[in-house]
Symmetry: D2
Subunit: 397 residues, 4 copies
């Protein structure tokens, strides 16, 4: 049973605490920090938390506290990490790690120097579907992954600070691109180096300084592409989908909007349907258990198991740093209009990965381009002569 200081009484702090205190779980929040006294008090009452404070330092240094969880606006992550590191306590930080790679690198250095257990709370690589999908990919079900698309779009975040660039550090690319980038990185392989990025970002719909829509491609050393699509102007709820193409297979994951639960109501249902649903009547698509489906449950299990075992969870500050570097490159690319290199100050993965190679011999003289069963039952082969390079077709029984 771990004792936790929760930093932040907003939407995400609520989700984390709800998840931690749910089911028959054994970990507990023992102090809540909020800048706002009333909110902190209300949060403590709602979740049965014994203590609340308006001092971040006090929360972190609470003698009972073993683990610090950061659910604060982006501009406060670094300060919170520094306090935790100084206190020598385990620290789990929400996404994105920093507002930029410089901040993220500093946080990474702080926790590593302090030798504390640290986790990067990227919940979406922990959704039960993603966990199982990644296991299938690792088991070879898809062959080599050549492309992974991750999409997160909804009608915009809940709190004003997200929309204010100097607090948040950026727009939708920073807020949700971080999810998508880390998801694709997991599918393609976390030890394969991201080498360059191409990004488009624009402010098309909302009256804000930062971008409200962004698209991007992250190219990995083996030639695979991680594609992200993020928007704060999507209509219809929250769309969280991943698609993976491999040389031998395909994976499609829908984490939120179409999960086998459909409801039509004429009268208007009272109460909470789902995060970022847009309507209260007509056809609705609730999710079963949000904290499970969004990955909070499995993420916290991994984080707290790491704390118990004094190891590191699957997602660490190092991963958060890599994601920040990729996003920094994306912002550069959105400005320059060309591919920009990912400038990693620190790389702990494979040093050199060969390009994907899925060529198949048909016989001594030919490579197989394609094999297809035709409507009449015959099999049609497309072959390439290894010497001449000539492509031909052949029908077999």
């Amino acid at each position: 049973m771990a004792k936790v200081a929760m930093l932040g009484a907003g939407f995400i702090g609520d989700f984390y605490t709800f998840s931690m205190h749910g089911q028959r779980n054994r970990d507990k929040v023992c102090v809540i920090y909020s800048r706002d006294e009333a909110r902190g008090k209300a949060f403590a009452a709602k979740h049965g938390i014994p203590r609340w404070t308006v001092s971040m330092k006090e929360a972190v240094n609470d003698p009972e506290v073993e683990v610090v969880m950061i659910g604060l606006p982006n501009n406060l992550h670094l300060e919170a990490v520094r306090l935790a590191a100084e206190a020598g306590k385990a620290v789990f930080c929400t996404k994105p790690l920093g507002r930029n790679a410089m901040e993220a690198k500093e946080m990474l250095d702080l926790v590593e120097k302090a030798g504390v257990v640290h986790g990067y709370m990227e919940d979406l690589v922990y959704t039960p579907k993603t966990i199982k999908a990644l296991k299938s990919v690792e088991g070879g079900a898809l062959g080599e992954v050549i492309w992974a698309r991750s999409r997160e779009t909804h009608p915009g975040p809940h709190s004003d600070w997200f929309w204010t660039k100097d607090v948040s550090g950026g727009g939708v690319l920073l807020d949700m691109g971080c999810h998508c980038i880390e998801i694709s990185r997991n599918y393609i392989g976390k030890d394969i180096k991201p080498v360059e990025v191409m990004c488009w970002a624009d402010t098309l719909v909302k009256p804000i300084e930062a971008e409200d829509n962004a698209l991007g491609w992250v190219k990995y050393e083996n030639g695979a592409i991680g594609q992200f699509e993020v928007s704060w102007s999507f209509r219809g709820g929250m769309d969280l989908r991943d698609e993976v193409m491999g040389t031998e297979g395909t994976i499609w994951v829908n984490n939120f909007l179409r999960t086998g639960f459909e409801m039509f109501t004429a009268g208007g249902k009272k109460g909470y349907v789902a995060e970022k649903a847009e309507t209260e009547k007509g056809w609705l698509f609730p999710v079963g258990d949000e904290v499970v489906e969004l990955g909070y449950t499995d993420m916290l299990t991994d984080m707290f198991n790491a704390f118990d075992n004094k190891t590191l969870p699957k997602e660490t500050f190092y991963d958060g740093y890599i994601v920040n570097e990729i996003m920094d490159a994306c912002y550069r690319s959105a400005k320059s209009g060309k591919w920009e290199a990912v400038e990693l100050k620190e790389w702990r993965g494979r040093e050199k990965t060969e390009k994907i190679n899925a060529l198949k011999d048909y016989d001594a003289e030919h490579l197989l381009v394609k094999e297809e069963r035709m409507p009449d039952g015959t099999v049609k082969l497309i072959l390439k002569n290894k010497n001449s390079g000539k492509i031909s077709q052949r029908i077999t029984g």
Copy 2:
């Protein structure tokens, strides 16, 4: 933290234990009973359980044990319940409660006389989707429920004893009809009396004595119909779907085969896809976290919270008994070819429920039959004159 004796080291005992020991849960199995020494030992090793035994009595009376969980073949439920009641320990029993209503009634009497906490482990009313759907129904999102279809079909159970009638007590109707009946009962209202049933059951595909396919309708006192469809000869995996029609809305729940997770693999994936998947290549439809999606997680939370609080969970032996009575009536109907009364020795719900009434006045003289917006933008009304009974149509702006 509850200490549990698990009775039964088969498929279902495995699922229960896996669920209880998963995530950051605090309850633990401390002794496993299996008739087979080798299986018990292996089970204990796999799940990190300190003790195993071939004596059911020894397991139940283990001094550390507070809760007895029954995951045994149907013919052993009564004996296990008797032991637990005699020991004065909480007891949670897998479905169906008895092989018939007589057995179930005896179990109900035993636990109530002993005054122990008891739970009927009907996991499928605890799937996260079902929990949320039931809440919507209770909140009025569907108006009055008039029909609930529950379907469970797959290619047949895992162990030989299910297929052996004197051990199991029946075929697919008993094995899976119990799920569907209790799901519909929850949607329609657990305090509304089930009055009669119509059932078809046949042995169409399998070389067994008991039925391998069954269909049924349970009529409730308010006129609503609970429909079940069960099969041990379905091809394509495990189909677990519920559909609910209300006067004001509709709910469709797919718990297993189409939940937003799709995979194509050319090569043949090694390893476990999902309970009762039939193929290992081509298009596969895994579920995210089976123990969550099948309701085990939320069911155990409710059961163990009840144990902690010395209350009763949502599903008790009384519910199990009601389901057994309904199934007994189904078997009578399948034989007689007509509607058969449900003969409840014990009814604790509403004594008399009026028939569903959803009539709507249009004006002083007319009832509204239907209102529809037409392609040309007008609204077409179908009205019934309250005096003459004549039905007419009217176009309005």
Copy 3:
């Protein structure tokens, strides 16, 4: 190119004409009959039809007319068929053929005595998906069909006459049960005799005399069950789904509500979404081309090809008669509460069909009950000893 008299200027006449005059089709309506002069005129203008009349006889005997299409209320089918038969013209009649089997039988006798081409316009066995599905079933893709569920539910018909029992002849069972019954009959085999039926019908929601909800099972001589579900009180649009279980496979067809076309609109879309959609904003599920998806296109092709070739289409008045007999038995069963025999005055199919038999030998001594690959890669067999009847399990590599 066929010249057609369209009888009826209502919703269904509109659909038929729209379908016939659509794309690059070559058949044409040359006269429209409507009881109401204004409607007939407007219909003619809308569809470019040269002549209109308020005399059914005049329309049928129009010298240019070769084919009579009946899109009239149920109580006028017999009269229209008599006129067409007397005129010696081909006649295609909408569903249901009669208000009861007696009417239907008379119509069948009339066209057969007159020797005219006749078609029963059961569009839903002609949806492109159904056509392909039936072909797969005939090709053996499902083994033996043991169960076919057909469901049609929506918020109720468009015109007042449907709701008036002496005009329509019945409620939702007659109006839409006829679709479902013929769909199941096609899947199970049109030459296999329907022997008895069980039906529930009730008036739960609407202020009408006839039933607004009905459920039924049609038992065929080989033991297969055709299940229908019909409702005039469904909320959420029009639900047209079929599910087929065979000993070797499964088919699921969704003809209308989930066909791969999803739209969310915040503003409220002007114009026609789809037949019987209930909302104009939020999530909507339009169909592509309604006249194709509902089977009108392929049905008319079959009907007019039959006319050209002086043969009969796939669905004839004989089929309409069989469906009416099944529905008559359903009404008897709904009243008696027991299985009722289908009393066919005329049966042209197979005289005696054996019960479905899907038993599989495992070896000389055993039948195979089930074979399953387990999570650990082994294969688990459930076997039945042919002599002792004992069921056992066996693990193989």
Copy 4:
């Protein structure tokens, strides 16, 4: 009734002819041209075509022929168009129009100088779903379209010539990108100028010279993005999906792989499931009527109606030329790694389109950033002060 010379007896010629001769259609192929005598003869026999020839010129100049349809490899389009223009006959050409914009421009000039009816056979903007979706977009259901994704991926084309770059002119970008680009252009607005493109293209899986995978963004003058994704190495069938985001709504179209038709077969179905399905057993996803669902039916209707009325169809050689220019820019971008301008020699749309503007006033002083109903029933507003630019949040009843 139009009389057609079909040029090309391959896969696409077969589809065109099958579609034209299907249902009760009135247009007919009267001569088939194939380079290969045996194929031409067989094609004529199969489709009931009176004449066949190995001379393209003879086919085009056949005196009965009114319309020339081109279903030839890309390198023969220009020659065929020239012959048709010289003969003064209507000409419909398959996609892509040219191997590059230069060829396409020459074809456009040829038909316009000759004054013949011409059509660009881009079937996928004619799928019934796309037609209805475009109508909704035009009606304002989505507000302003800001992004349209079109995806076409499958395991590769049927014939050797596609894989041979000097015949085809390019790889998957040319072969299928042309579909996606024209689909997005229709959603965003055909009169809005495409200004620049970003493209990634690589040869990851197949042993060929041309690209087997490509991704791209086409930026339109109003800031909207048309995104395409094409692959010849997708596993699992043919994936044809479009997704559209507007300021007020969303459209998702699935034309092929998930259209409400699902089949599981254990035994292995004989015969044709669907174009580019990869498996014959397990879960299969057939389409209903391929020629309808892929747009051939509605496309030919538009083309032949244009011929009858001496107008132009919705898709003309001009559209084909625009698409080729966009693709030429894509190839430049794939090489240069930066956005490349679309260099239109001819632009007939709007001269200048303003940037998308969806700003909404909340009151005199504030713009509305977001409005959301919270779980507790309150409404949360995110507002931007017009003067200070400060963003704040506000809770209202």
